[in-house]
């Protein structure tokens, strides 16, 4: 449907970069291409890619969501303290997810009904929620405790099913669902249409406000999901968790070929983008690269990848 020739090129290009990149690393370090390490990379990527999936919805409408990291911190802290306080697993997880979705919906309402630019609106909620996370946790990590429910909870992040870490299943499910929504449902079509031309979308009889609220709700919900996984992995919620994650998520989306101005891009690209970042982090650690050079290399990779993408788009 949206897959024009250009779209296919972009898709294959980021995939191509990922494969090439992986091959180079595999040659440099034989431990890279082991089953264990691949599962390890996928598990580490799950957090960023789940947030980036939500971010893809937002960016496709031409928006941006800076509050994802703060939502992650707040929802993680809520889940951890509920578990620590003896609440049951299902209730804790559902409460955290609901809070994420509600905060996201709030972002969407401020942006659509209040006509505030997404950057400004989510910058405000980002700061506000980070403050709330500090207040809520009193600046200290919240441990889930060591009782039985906490053990089950931690398996959401640290557990395995059939030898594969559970966060990988969660990530796969999120992407399958996101793909389905964006490609096969009318809501997905509205997301693209809104990103291409908001006015024409409104003139076509579509309630643009509702679409905006939807995408920010998705982003908030998925941030909460990432918050639960990260809290479960550590059996503890950090008040500072997720700071800077919005930038990692945006980087993944952009590396995947989605345009920041909206309307163009795919969820498939986003997962590739997230994997490129994940593989890079993993490789730098595997090869014991000095920390001073790590940031340098990461910045370079993003710059080169985005430039490649730009070049491809202009020379269609």
């Amino acid at each position: 449907m949206m897959m024009t020739i250009k779209g296919k090129l972009i898709r294959n290009k980021s995939l191509f970069v990922l494969i090439l990149f992986s091959l180079v690393i595999a040659v440099l370090n034989p431990r890279f291409l082991t089953v264990n390490n691949i599962l390890n990379v996928l598990r580490q990527t799950s957090i960023n890619s789940i947030i980036a999936a939500g971010m893809t919805f937002v960016i496709l409408t031409g928006g941006i969501d800076l509050s994802v990291g703060s939502i992650l911190a707040v929802t993680g802290a809520v889940a951890a303290s509920m578990i620590a306080g003896g609440a049951n697993l299902f209730a804790s997880v559902m409460t955290a997810l609901a809070i994420g979705a509600v905060i996201g919906a709030f972002n969407g309402i401020v942006i659509s009904k209040g006509k505030i630019q997404p950057f400004i609106a989510t910058l405000a909620t980002m700061t506000l929620l980070r403050g709330y996370a500090m207040v809520f946790t009193d600046g200290k990590p919240v441990s889930t405790g060591s009782h039985e429910v906490a053990g089950v909870f931690s398996s959401i992040g640290a557990g395995y099913f059939l030898g594969v870490p559970i966060p990988i299943y969660v990530m796969a499910a999120v992407f399958a669902l996101a793909y389905y929504i964006l490609r096969h449902t009318r809501t997905g079509r509205y997301v693209y249409s809104l990103g291409c031309n908001e006015e024409a979308t409104v003139y076509s009889g579509i309630n643009a406000d509702r679409v905006k609220i939807f995408v920010y709700t998705v982003s908030g919900f998925l941030s909460a999901l990432a918050g639960i996984i990260i809290t479960a992995r550590l059996s503890s919620a950090q008040p500072q968790a997720g700071s800077g994650y919005e930038l990692d998520a945006i980087a993944a989306v952009v590396l995947g070929g989605t345009s920041l101005s909206g309307g163009v891009g795919s969820i498939f690209g986003t997962i590739i983008g997230a994997l490129i970042i994940g593989v890079l982090n993993n490789a730098l650690n595997l090869m014991d690269v000095s920390s001073y050079y790590q940031l340098l290399l990461k910045g370079l990779v993003i710059l080169v990848a985005v430039l490649l993408d730009r070049k491809q788009k202009s020379s269609k």
Binding site: Q44, P141, A241, N281, N285
Partner: protein, 306 residues
């Protein structure tokens, strides 16, 4: 009109909220009415996002309460510019002594000088200042702490083994000093550092960096992390891998001490942040009374083991 009304209401609401929050948090609330402003002590703290500094602050607050002093605490949020502004605010409030826990030893210089120019005595806590005059520096010796951890690991491994070092934020003095002490200690022993990676003092990063290192290194005997947050993250990674590796942290935060008690972590080097804070206030009181104090006040470190 309607907009203006809503805006006004929001402003009032927010102001009310802050008034409500501020009252219990700051015992120094009657600051403006207090005629004895000279007894006020300011504490500029690098960040309250880290439990260590929160404990430091609490130690200072407890001491101030005990001595009946007025303590104003300002958070620099790890931002030297904010720190400068905080110090300026305290100068404007004409506090008697400023306690600074610098975000960075170099960047704090101008703030110290600003206080010097108004003849307000400055005491640095935990991190020193590379410029300006301070009446005293109160800190635990990070180099000694690193050494303590190194010696502990040598003893436990009986002088031989492979070790991973998780570094703090590149360029910070804590990361430098702890690393320096640790590496000095293990020099000459049969200990090999097989990986040395930064995890930014962060638990989540400690987890993922350790996971990656576990993939790369088939044999690891011990991990030394520059703080407990990273150590606890690394611990999760090690637990998940099913391998048995000794973990030594630094700071002795509540979570880490619990982990040591349960036997998951081998040891953590305890700084005594509460004592740093409390000594700071105590010495500030002495300065106000005109007593002379030591230029450098070391705070004891201790190794917490099971």
């Amino acid at each position: 009109m309607k907009k203006a009304l809503i805006l006004t209401m929001v402003v009032i609401l927010v102001a009310g909220l802050f008034a409500g929050c501020a009252a219990p948090a700051a015992p120094a609330a009657p600051a403006e009415t207090n005629q004895e402003g000279a007894k006020k002590v300011g504490l500029v703290i690098s960040t309250l996002n880290n439990p260590f500094f929160v404990t430091l602050k609490e130690g200072a607050e407890a001491k101030a309460k005990e001595l009946g002093m007025d303590l104003v605490v300002l958070d620099s949020q790890n931002d030297p510019a904010k720190e400068m502004a905080n110090v300026e605010d305290l100068i404007t409030k004409s506090v008697a002594v400023i306690l600074i826990n610098p975000t960075d030893s170099d960047a704090v210089g101008n703030a110290v000088k600003a206080a010097n120019s108004k003849n307000i005595p400055v005491i640095t806590l935990d991190r020193g200042a590379n410029a300006g005059d301070v009446v005293a520096h109160i800190a635990s010796d990070n180099v000694a702490g690193g050494k303590m951890a190194g010696e502990f690991i040598i003893k436990q491994l009986e002088g031989k083994g492979k070790v991973v070092e998780l570094e703090g934020i590149a360029g910070t003095s804590a990361a430098r000093d702890r690393g320096k002490g640790f590496n000095e200690a293990i020099q000459g022993a049969g200990i090999e550092v097989v990986a040395k990676q930064t995890a930014d003092f962060d638990r989540t990063k400690g987890l993922s960096v350790m996971e990656n290192i576990l993939q790369a290194q088939p044999e690891i005997n011990a991990v030394f992390a520059h703080n407990d947050e990273m150590a606890l993250g690394a611990l999760q990674a090690i637990k998940a891998s099913g391998r048995s590796i000794m973990v030594v942290g630094f700071d002795a935060t509540d979570d880490a001490v619990k982990a040591v008690e349960s036997g998951e972590m081998a040891a953590t080097v305890a700084q005594q942040p509460a004592m740093i804070g409390s000594l700071g206030v105590e010495n500030a009181a002495k300065v106000i009374k005109g007593e002379s104090i030591e230029k450098s006040i070391p705070v004891d470190l201790k190794l917490v083991t099971k």
